[in-house]
Structures are given as structure tokens and as C-alpha cells.
């Protein structure tokens, strides 16, 4: 079997993204999604170019995880948010994780059309990816893609579908997690109360043009949060039907969350978890045993340079596992 085309130059693409050259995004993602060994090497080089160590700081973008059950109006909401961010002259990348699970290995990706954006606006980038094995779960490449785009764009949105599992996974990849609900999403309220679902950073209630139902939903949500002691979670009511309402307030609530948290700490933790996940997938139980178990591995990772990128951390784990075997 032959492959005539050599993979793209990862360092070069990394440098272009660092210089905020948005046109490098598609090729960078092609590389990151590739499983070919030489492409993976280049992808590692790309991510190394964008590590906090190389940048001298955490990448500037605000990574937002947007998740919620199907049909609550995430795409309409995202259309309005993108429009708002563009009006503030911020560039936006959207990683749309399509809920249609893989069948026959293939997938149908159709979500991007539901996000309205001017196709000629080069400051909006949308990429669809198939979900991981679970409903709404993230494919490993999606996290890496987000890490790469974080250096080039002002806002990176990871959009997933589902409730219960997905927001936990998204929490590992995003600075701010927003869960989107509509009036009468009663099951979600139950999930929250029962602790099946972690309390998100921001709760968005859509379709508030529905009147009384929306008002009731709003007070139900606030009561539930109060009962859980989650007073830090802001609830943002929005309406995406013309004229849209609550969009600017939501954008500000997301932004406010980001300024409130220790961003570097959250990202470091995410990178370490991500590296350990990847290591476990690659080396399995045996690999984890060689590190003295998951907990030991986590502790050891905490001693590593906080500015390292994921592939470097992964290599360090592999080296350590190898030397102990």
C-alpha cells in the first residue's frame, strides 16, 4: 500500500495558528484527526508549538462547552451568539459534535447548516465531527482540535448533545460549561437534583418567548439550584426567535465566569487528564499498572511542568511506564 502525499508540516501550521492565521485551521484539523503515524508526529509538533510553554502563557481563547438535550434550540442559540461575538469583532471557532452515532463506521454530519453565519466571513470557522462511542461523547481528536484552535481564535465553542455524561466530558475540555434547556425539560431538573448531572457553570433557558411556561421553568430552575447550594451558577433566559433576547447578557455571563475562575489551573488539570486518557487508550490497563495505578499517575503528573502540551505529557507518561517495566 502506498501513500503518495506526505502529511502537512505540523510546526509550520502551529506557527501560523500562533500568528492567528485562521486559514491554517482546516489543515491543522486534518492533521490532528489523522491516525497515520507520520501525521501523528506532525500533529504532536503542531500542538507543541501551541503549548503554554511555547506561547509563554495560556492560549488566549475562551473555550466554551455548550451542551443540552436535542431539540432545545442549541443551534439557533449558537447562531445568535456567533452573531453577537462577531459584532464585538471576536473570531469564533465551533466544533460541532454530531450526535448521530457512527454506524457502519460512517457518519452523517449535518449540524453545521443549522448555525447561521456569513460563509464569506473568514473569522467564523465551523467543523463537524462524529461523536465518540457514547452519545454526545467527545472523540479524542475533538479535544486536541480545541487545544489547537485556542491559540488562534478568540472564542472556541464545543457543541455536544446529551445530558448526564456529556457535560462532564465537556467540562474537561472547556473553560466554561453551559447547559442549554427549554421550558418543560423536567427530566433535566431531576438529573440535577439527583446529582446524575453535575451543576454547569451557566444554565441557559431557551424559548422564553413561551410566556408563562418559561416563567415557571425559570423559577423551578432557580429553586433547584438553591436547594443544591449552587448559588454561583447563573441562569440566563434567552429567546432566539426574532427579535432575539438575552444574548448579550448570556455572552457576558459566560465571560464573567471565565474571569472568575483560575484559568491556568483549570487548563492544566484538563491537559493532564487528557494526557492520561490518551495514555490509557494507547497502553491499556497494563500501562496504567506500570505507572502504579491511575491515582499514582495523576499525582506524578501534578509534579510535571504545568506548561507542557498534551502529547509531551503523554510521552512523559510513556517514558515513565517504560522505565519502570
Amino acid at each position: 500500500m502506498s501513500r503518495a502525499r506526505a502529511p502537512a508540516d505540523g510546526r509550520e501550521l502551529g506557527r501560523r495558528l500562533r500568528d492567528r492565521d485562521l486559514t491554517a485551521a482546516p489543515a491543522a484539523l486534518n492533521l490532528i484527526e489523522s491516525r497515520a503515524p507520520d501525521a501523528r508526529e506532525q500533529a504532536e509538533a503542531l500542538l507543541a508549538e501551541l503549548s503554554p510553554a511555547a506561547l509563554g502563557h495560556e492560549a488566549p481563547a475562551h473555550v466554551i462547552g455548550l451542551t443540552g438535550p436535542p431539540g432545545v434550540g442549541k443551534s439557533s442559540l449558537l447562531s445568535q451568539l456567533v452573531k453577537y461575538w462577531r459584532s464585538c469583532d471576536r473570531s469564533v471557532a465551533v466544533l460541532a459534535v454530531d450526535p448521530s452515532s457512527r454506524r457502519s463506521g460512517g457518519s452523517l454530519l449535518g449540524d453545521r447548516a443549522r448555525i447561521e453565519a456569513d460563509p464569506k466571513d473568514r473569522h467564523v470557522f465551523i467543523r463537524s465531527t462524529a461523536a465518540g462511542t457514547r452519545l454526545g461523547g467527545l472523540a479524542p481528536a475533538t479535544r486536541a482540535a480545541s487545544e489547537a484552535l485556542t491559540a488562534a481564535f478568540d472564542v472556541v465553542v464545543i457543541e455536544t448533545v446529551g445530558v448526564g455524561q456529556s457535560e462532564t466530558e465537556v467540562a474537561d475540555a472547556a473553560d466554561t460549561v453551559a447547559v442549554v434547556l427549554q421550558p418543560a425539560s423536567g427530566d433535566v431538573l431531576q438529573f440535577l437534583k439527583a446529582g446524575i448531572m453535575e451543576v454547569p457553570d451557566v444554565l441557559v433557558l431557551t424559548k422564553t418567548d413561551l410566556g408563562a411556561a418559561a416563567t415557571r421553568a425559570m423559577s423551578d430552575l432557580q429553586a433547584a439550584l438553591l436547594a443544591l447550594g449552587a448559588t454561583g451558577t447563573e441562569v440566563c433566559p434567552v429567546s432566539s426567535v426574532p427579535p432575539p433576547q438575552g444574548i448579550a447578557q448570556l455572552a457576558q455571563a459566560l465571560e464573567a465566569h471565565r474571569t472568575r475562575i483560575d484559568l491556568a489551573e483549570r487548563r492544566q488539570r484538563a491537559r493532564r487528564r487528557h494526557a492520561l486518557e490518551n495514555f490509557a487508550v494507547e497502553h491499556g490497563e497494563r500501562g496504567l499498572r506500570a505507572l502504579g495505578g491511575r491515582l499514582q499517575a495523576e499525582r506524578w503528573l501534578e509534579t510535571q511542568d504545568p506548561a507542557l502540551d498534551v502529547p509531551s505529557l503523554e510521552r512523559a507518561l510513556a517514558d515513565r511506564a517504560g522505565s519502570d517495566q
Binding site: 500500500m1 502525499r5 485551521a25 460512517g106 452523517l108 454530519l109 447548516a113 460563509p119 465551523i126
Partner: protein
């Protein structure tokens, strides 16, 4: 005089209304065509509008590019409508308009054009199709979201019942459901559910004493396939359900108001591009399905032409179809008898079977909250049925003579002429129309138009007000189709219908698993999964083919980006670039490929997408196909290429070749 025997009618029935679905280019050219058709013995008009008019764009809008005057006539304002109907007495004519999202507007233009002839609205006879749900499910010329669209429908019904009492304000369509793959049971059930949704919406907006008249004004537009015995049973089943619905759900006591009234265009889906002359027989047999039994006979018929799978029919092709109707009505003895299936065990059995299936399916839709709420469910069900149908054709289980069986053939003299046997719209029409609408805007009383549109916007915001009076006022003032629609888009918002492809089941077959292995092999060599963009540029909403391609490619293991209909070239190019696809497939059935394909290629270049092969599928004449290949299109597929697996094999090979992956497995 002795009583006539019960097996004969005392007098033969009057023939049904005979129409030809016609219109192209501009109002003047279409008016000439209509007058000629009426001379040939056609008894009603059936207006085909172009896609910009149907979706609410003026000829100079970006989305109208390549589509102006193509699949019908371009009507932008009352002046166009007056020209279109010039010399046709509207107090005598019965006019059917295939218009949906913009039905309220075109009806207003018709009313204003009649005023101009001195004919008052109460004398007007005809039909506006005005059925939005099937646009979401199949045909694709929607403009507004479901809620406001249902309101527009209810408003036109409420208005016409009072002011245009002889008008059929809506033709609820089962036609397009069959074209999208519906089984007879689905066709009946989804159509009746749709009717319920419409009637429930109207019930909110008219005084209850008018509901019986409203029910009596609802008519249907159905399809008839070549299995004409079962198809006839389908219509009898619909008549039974409609009668029940009127009596039980809406309390309609007048039996006449509960009678199923329907018009028909027989099946296009089953017409083949291979040996197209055979389609004449198919059309004749399908016409029997809607005429044989008197108890469920069509009120109006329009027949497709033999060459629909090749391109737009010429006047002569349409004449040939009209003659078929005339032979059936005037030469045969069909109209001399009472219902010939009365007491038939076979027919009664078939009807009972269909009724049972339809009731179950209607129940399911009702449980989902009714037809509006169940659009996603119904769309997915249709895509799935169509997938199964296609699989039966590919396997040979369902025979299509001349296409998958008995394929050896002599060259057809019908397609040998210089025009290839089809009509080509003068490419100058679009520029003419752009210029004409600009001139119209420059010469009218702008202040009057602004005021009328401001009132329209205000009425649109007030849900309890009827949209029709403000719409008629805007038509009178000289507003354009695009302006009326944009005013409502600004108030109601826009909408993208579900594609239905995500839920389609995977097709397990040996051939598909071979494809899957090949996709795996090529993907492995590429480093990531083969990614395929299926795009529908332009306003053409006929997405059934594109959907089947997308589903099959998914089944073959590809990552498929499919975003639905009505994409601009720039949108397609941006998607291709951002998604990092390996190959692009474009589908166009409206005849606008000559303009749109080069536009997409330009946009791709501009977006920096190079070396990604592009294939095209659609109703594309041979000469155009050759020109496209020269312009860099890797392959062109027409309805003759009905084997989807073969197409998939080509596409995989194309990607392999571009990426230097060995094409043979034994490498």
C-alpha cells in the same frame, strides 16, 4: 321512459378538469403558452412558478441566480400577474397555482389581476396549493418556520371562505410524499394527519358555524403510481377516512362537504431516463388509477410528460400528455358507468388493508403531538421507505422495464433531435427579469409601497389578525414577491427543515460490505476517514436523491457532510474548506446546473479548495454533461445512473486516485 339499468348511468359524466402543469421564463412567454394550451382543449390552467417566486425572492436576489424562469414562470408583482393572465377571462377560468410558502401573496396578486379585468373575487375559481408540511417533508420550497406558516394557511382559508367562496384555498398534498418514497399507507396517513393539523389551526380562526364550509373547501392533490389497482384502493381509503373525519372530528353534517375532492398529477418518481418512451405507457396506466372507479375519481388531472427524467418538457411533449387525457375521457366508455368496483371483494379487501395500516400510522403521528410536531418523524420514515424502495430496484426485486430488466434497446428517435428532446430556457431571461424588476421598483409609488409593507409587518406581528387584507393592499400598491416575503421573514424568522437522513437504518448487503472494506482501506491510507460533502446548491428543493446518496455513503463507511437544501455556492465552498472533505458531490434537478456548477467551482477556488474532486448528479442533458467534464467536473450522473453502489465505487476510486492510493486491493 324506462328506468336505465343500474349498470349504466342515465347520462355519461362530465369529464374531469384537464390541465397541463406549465409555465417558464416570463409572464409574456407563459401567457402565449397558456393560450395555445387552451386552444388545444385544455379546460383549466395549472401555473408552474419558478423557484425564486416559490421561495419568495425577486429575480435579482443572490439566491435566485441561475433559477429565474427555469422550472416555471417568474412572477414578481401585479404587473407580471396581469401579463400572465392577459386575454384569459378570469370569471370563467379555473386556475390551479402550485404555490406554497408564498401562496397568500400569489393569491393576492391573482385577486388584484382579476380586479384589473373587472372581475370580483367572489367569481374566482381555482386552487392555491398552500400546503407547507409536505414542503418540509419533500418538496423544499418553504420559507418560514412551521408556526407562522400554519397561520398563513389558516388565514388564507379563513379569508377565502368569506370573500373568494369558490376558491380552493389549500390542496393538501400526498403527491410529494409518494415522490419522497412513501408507501400507500404512509401516503394516506401523513396526508390525513396534515389535513387535521390544518383544520385544527383554522378552527381557531373562524366562527364555528363556518367550519362545515371550510371542510368542504379543502381539497387534495394526490399521486398515482403504476401499481394502479392498489393506487385506486388508496383513493377509496382516503375518501372513507375523509368522510369519517368530517363527521366525527369536525361535526360536518352536510354529506356534500365531506366528499373527498382531489386533483392529481401522476407519478414522476417511476419515470425512467432509460428508454424514456416507455413512460407513456406508465402514465396511461397511472391515469387509470385515478379515473377507473367513479366513487373515487379525480376532479382535475394533469399528466407529466414522457421526458421528465431528461429535462423540461416542450409544448409538443405536453400536448402528447393532454391527448392521453382526452382519449380517456372522450374515446373510451369510462364515463358511462357507475362505480365499477362496487361490490368487488378484491377492492374492498385492499381498501380495508390500507385503512387499517393508515389508522395505526395516524395514531402514531397524533401521539407525537400531530403532524406539525411529527415532521422529524415523518421525514425520517420517508427517507427510510425510499431507501428500501431503492434497494429493491437495485436488487432487481422491483422491476423497472428498460432500466433494471429488458435493457437491450434500439436507439430512440425521440431523443435524436437537435434539442435532445427537451426544452431549454433562453439564458437571457434571467438578465431580462433582473432588469425588469429594477425598472418596476423605479417607476412605482415608493411611498405607497413602504406604507403597505409597514402595515403588513404590523399585521404579521399580531397573531390574531388575518394577513390577507394587508397582503392584497401590498399587491395593489406594487410591492414585489421578494419584498412581501422579506417583510415576513423579518418578523417570523427563517427555518431549515430536517434532512431525515440521520435516522435511516443501515443497509446490510454484501455489496455494501465490500464497499465498506474499500472505504476502510482507503481511509487507512489517507490517515483519516474518507469525508464526503453532499451539497444541494440553488433553490431546488428536490432532495430525495441527495438524501439517498448521503445515506448510502454513510452505510459504506464514509463521514458524510450533508446540510440539506438551498445552499449558496459560497456556503458549499466554505463547508468544503472547513470540513476538510476529500470529495464533493453536487445535486441539481432544476436545470440551473449551467449557472450554478461554474459558480460553485469558482467559489471553491476562492476558498482555497484545490484538488478536491467534484462530481455532479441531476437532470442533466448530455451536451451539458460533456461541457461540465471539460470544466473540471470529475463525473456526471443522471437518472440513468440508478445504481448507487456503482456510484460509491467511483467516488472511492476517485479519492484514491487523487491521493495516490493504489486502486487495486491486491497492491
Amino acid at each position: 321512459m324506462p328506468e336505465p339499468p343500474s349498470h349504466r348511468l342515465p347520462e355519461p359524466d362530465r369529464p374531469w378538469m384537464m390541465r397541463t402543469y406549465a409555465g417558464h421564463s416570463d409572464a409574456r412567454r407563459s401567457n402565449e403558452l397558456y393560450r395555445k394550451n387552451l386552444e388545444k382543449g385544455q379546460t383549466g390552467l395549472s401555473i408552474a412558478f419558478d423557484l425564486p417566486t416559490q421561495t419568495g425572492y425577486d429575480p435579482d436576489h443572490e439566491l435566485a441566480k441561475g433559477e429565474v424562469g427555469k422550472v416555471g414562470v417568474s412572477i414578481a408583482h401585479k404587473g407580471d400577474m396581469e401579463t400572465l393572465l392577459d386575454g384569459i377571462p378570469l370569471d370563467q377560468m379555473n386556475t390551479s397555482m402550485t404555490i406554497n410558502a408564498t401562496a397568500a401573496w400569489l393569491l393576492a396578486l391573482y385577486i388584484v389581476a382579476a380586479e384589473d379585468q373587472g372581475v370580483t373575487a367572489d367569481k374566482l375559481q381555482g386552487t392555491t396549493q398552500n400546503d407547507i408540511l409536505k414542503e418540509y417533508l419533500s418538496r423544499g420550497t418553504y420559507a418560514f418556520p412551521p408556526g407562522p406558516s400554519m397561520r398563513l394557511i389558516a388565514d388564507t382559508i379563513a379569508y377565502t371562505v368569506e370573500h373568494v367562496p369558490k376558491w380552493n384555498p389549500i390542496n393538501i398534498c400526498s403527491y410529494h410524499l409518494q415522490e419522497a418514497g412513501a408507501t400507500p399507507v404512509q401516503e394516506i396517513a401523513f396526508t390525513m394527519s396534515n389535513a387535521i393539523a390544518v383544520l385544527d389551526a383554522v378552527r381557531e380562526r373562524v366562527p364555528s358555524e363556518l367550519m362545515s364550509s371550510v371542510f368542504g373547501r379543502i381539497s387534495f392533490f394526490v399521486n398515482a403510481g403504476v401499481r394502479f389497482v392498489e393506487e385506486h384502493a388508496k383513493l377509496r381509503a382516503m375518501a372513507t377516512l375523509w368522510d369519517e373525519l368530517g363527521r366525527d372530528r369536525y361535526g360536518v353534517e352536510d354529506e356534500k362537504h365531506r366528499r373527498l375532492r382531489y386533483g392529481v398529477q401522476v407519478n414522476s418518481l417511476g419515470l425512467t431516463a432509460a428508454q424514456p418512451e416507455n413512460n407513456v405507457y406508465r402514465i396511461a396506466l397511472e391515469a387509470l388509477a385515478v379515473t377507473l372507479g367513479r366513487n373515487a375519481r379525480a376532479r382535475a388531472i394533469q399528466l407529466p410528460a414522457w421526458n421528465e427524467a431528461l429535462g423540461l418538457p416542450r409544448p409538443w411533449d405536453q400536448q402528447w400528455s393532454l391527448r392521453l387525457q382526452q382519449i380517456l375521457a372522450y374515446e373510451t366508455d369510462l364515463l358511462e358507468y357507475p362505480d365499477i368496483f362496487e361490490g368487488s371483494k378484491v377492492m374492498d379487501g385492499l381498501v380495508a388493508e390500507l385503512l387499517e395500516g393508515a389508522r395505526t400510522e395516524m395514531h402514531r403521528v397524533a401521539e407525537l403531538g400531530g403532524a406539525v410536531q411529527a415532521v422529524d418523524y415523518m421525514k425520517a420514515a420517508l427517507v427510510e421507505s425510499h431507501r428500501k424502495r431503492w434497494q429493491r430496484i437495485e436488487s432487481g426485486e422491483q422491476v423497472a422495464v428498460g432500466m433494471n430488466r429488458f435493457t437491450s434497446t434500439e436507439p430512440s428517435p425521440l431523443t435524436a433531435g437537435a434539442d435532445g428532446g427537451i426544452l431549454v430556457v433562453d439564458p437571457e431571461v434571467e438578465a431580462e427579469r433582473r432588469h425588469a424588476v429594477e425598472q418596476w421598483r423605479a417607476e412605482r409609488d415608493q411611498a405607497a409601497v413602504d406604507a403597505a409593507l409597514a402595515t403588513l409587518a404590523e399585521v404579521a406581528r399580531q397573531d390574531h389578525e388575518n394577513i390577507m387584507p394587508a397582503t392584497i393592499a401590498a399587491a395593489r400598491a406594487g410591492a414585489t414577491t421578494g419584498e412581501w416575503s422579506q417583510t415576513l421573514r423579518d418578523t417570523f424568522g427563517e427555518y431549515r427543515a430536517p434532512t431525515g437522513v440521520g435516522e435511516a437504518a443501515a443497509a446490510p448487503s454484501e455489496e455494501v460490505s465490500e464497499l465498506r472494506e474499500e472505504v476502510e482501506r482507503v481511509s487507512e491510507a489517507l490517515g483519516r476517514r474518507l469525508k464526503f460533502l453532499v451539497g444541494k446548491p440553488g433553490l431546488d428543493g428536490h432532495s430525495n436523491g441527495a438524501e439517498q446518496i448521503a445515506v448510502r455513503a454513510r452505510d459504506a463507511g464514509m463521514d458524510v457532510v450533508y446540510e440539506g437544501i438551498r445552499l449558496t455556492p459560497a456556503q458549499i465552498a466554505t463547508s468544503a474548506a472547513q470540513e476538510g472533505v476529500h470529495v464533493i458531490g453536487l445535486s441539481i434537478l432544476s436545470g440551473s446546473h449551467r449557472e450554478l456548477i461554474p459558480a460553485v467551482l469558482d467559489a471553491l477556488r476562492e476558498a482555497g479548495v484545490e484538488d478536491v474532486p467534484v462530481v455532479v448528479g441531476g437532470i442533466i442533458p448530455q451536451d451539458d454533461a460533456a461541457a461540465m467534464r471539460e470544466a473540471g467536473i470529475a463525473a456526471v450522473y443522471t437518472p440513468k445512473d440508478w445504481n448507487l453502489n456503482g456510484m460509491m465505487r467511483d467516488i472511492i476510486a476517485l479519492v484514491a486516485e487523487r491521493h495516490g492510493v493504489d486502486s487495486a486491493v491486491d497492491a
